[in-house]
């Protein structure tokens, strides 16, 4: 009885041992695709941009590839392990790419900030130069105003020098009979300095027209006096033209003895009546 049982046990032991080894120890077949997975993993591990950016996922992929590389008796299990390894490698690759993008983002953000800064700086520069230009223009305007004021002051001073009077008809400059010899229409030498100032004034304000009127006292015939006043007015006009005043701005009239400004009874009154009046229009000529 006991010998029989012993034999039976021996038989079981002999039969089971190879079964156990066959079933539970590794068979000789390495799963298909494991080598490819290893290649892919090596490629990822040797990529300088990606290798250091997903260390945990790459480690997991390494373990999965190692598991897939173990020769398997069970083809289905081998296929499963290779699939897992492939997926783990892909996951690691994408994670590394995400991290790479994030790392590049810092650089991109710097680039964008620099571009923005540049554009702001240029805008500010432009605004600054605009402001400078505006200031310059304002200065010029101020200068114009100053010049205008200066000119107005000059005009006032010159008018005062010419003994001009402001009237409704315009500025009236009265030249006394001292400029002419009695009964003559020729200008005396001393008249030049007085008329020179008038000519300079007229040249300075070229838009003003001028009327030259000759007047006499009541000594002598009326016709003679009319002719004399006209000739004297003409003499003044000729002189002004010779000094560069355009003739189309000038008009000469002989008014004779009829527009006395003083009585003709006294010598001083007659002297005041012998005169040439130069009327400078206030407004600019229409031409």
């Amino acid at each position: 009885m006991s010998t029989q049982i012993y034999r039976f046990n021996k038989l079981i032991a002999i039969m089971l041992t190879p079964v156990i080894f066959a079933a539970c120890s590794a068979g000789p077949i390495k799963p298909e695709g494991a080598d490819m997975a290893r290649n892919n993993l090596i490629q990822l591990q040797s990529d300088p941009q990606l290798a250091s950016r997903a260390p945990v996922a790459i480690q997991e992929a390494e373990l999965a590839v190692r598991a897939a590389e173990v020769p398997q008796e069970n083809v289905e299990l081998g296929r499963h392990l290779v699939f897992m390894a492939d997926r783990k490698i892909a996951i690691a690759t994408f994670q590394a790419q995400s991290r790479l993008s994030e790392d590049q983002r810092k650089m991109l953000s710097e680039q964008r900030d620099n571009a923005r800064l540049d554009s702001r700086t240029r805008e500010a520069d432009r605004a600054h130069s605009d402001a400078t230009a505006a200031r310059r223009e304002a200065n010029l305007a101020n200068m114009d105003t100053e010049i205008a004021l200066q000119q107005a002051a000059d005009l006032q001073r010159q008018i005062a020098e010419l003994n001009a009077k402001a009237t409704d008809r315009g500025l009236v400059v009265t030249l006394g009979d001292l400029l002419f010899d009695t009964g003559k229409a020729t200008l005396k030498g001393g008249a030049a300095s007085h008329l020179g100032k008038l000519a300079a004034f007229l040249n300075q304000y070229p838009d003003r027209t001028v009327m030259i009127e000759g007047h006499t006292d009541n000594v002598g015939s009326e016709d003679f006096n009319l002719g004399l006043s006209q000739r004297r007015a003409n003499s003044v006009m000729t002189y002004l033209v010779s000094q560069g005043v355009a003739s189309n701005r000038l008009a000469a009239y002989g008014k004779g003895e009829n527009f006395a400004i003083s009585d003709n009874e006294s010598a001083s009154g007659r002297q005041q009546n012998r005169r040439v009046e130069i009327i400078i229009a206030n407004t600019a000529a229409r031409q």
Binding site: I5, N9, C24, M84, R87, E102, S119
Partner: protein, 138 residues
């Protein structure tokens, strides 16, 4: 029953090395090769979590194929549990999980790249605008 009791009695009395090896071999074969059919609950839960994460990251926009595969395999794993094919169920659950994880990783990578592309584009636009303004000034 009688037979096993007898055997044990014999083993207790003789204690030969061969008998010990035999007993060990039987025990080992029971433990190693005859898996107790337990559903792979842990793997199934992990797959489900991974799919949820991928969904929340809108992986469907970038990796719909992988996400779809993950869902299909999870369903297949549950079906395998019903059929008490536990090893198959576990493998399907594991595959479903890595599919979902891949969908998530792929979506994140695409999104990250899209952001970078957008930043590069806006920088280029700014540079062009700047050049145009400078051109106007000159």
């Amino acid at each position: 029953m009688t037979h096993r009791l007898t055997t044990m009695k014999v083993m207790g009395t003789h204690r030969s090395p061969l008998q010990l090896i035999t007993a060990g071999a039987i025990l080992f074969s029971l433990v190693a090769c005859a898996t107790v059919p337990q559903p792979p609950n842990q793997e199934l839960a992990a797959a489900e979590t991974a799919i949820t994460s991928a969904d929340q990251a809108r992986a469907v926009d970038y990796a719909s194929a992988e996400l779809h595969e993950a869902r299909t395999k999870l369903a297949a794993a549950r079906a395998a549990v019903q059929q008490e094919k536990m090893i198959l169920a576990q493998q399907l659950a594991e595959q479903s999980r890595v599919d979902a994880e891949l969908a998530l990783a792929k979506a994140e990578a695409f999104k990250a790249k899209a952001i970078n592309d957008e930043m590069m584009k806006s920088t280029d636009v700014m540079k062009q605008e700047m050049q145009r303004n400078t051109g106007d000034k000159q």
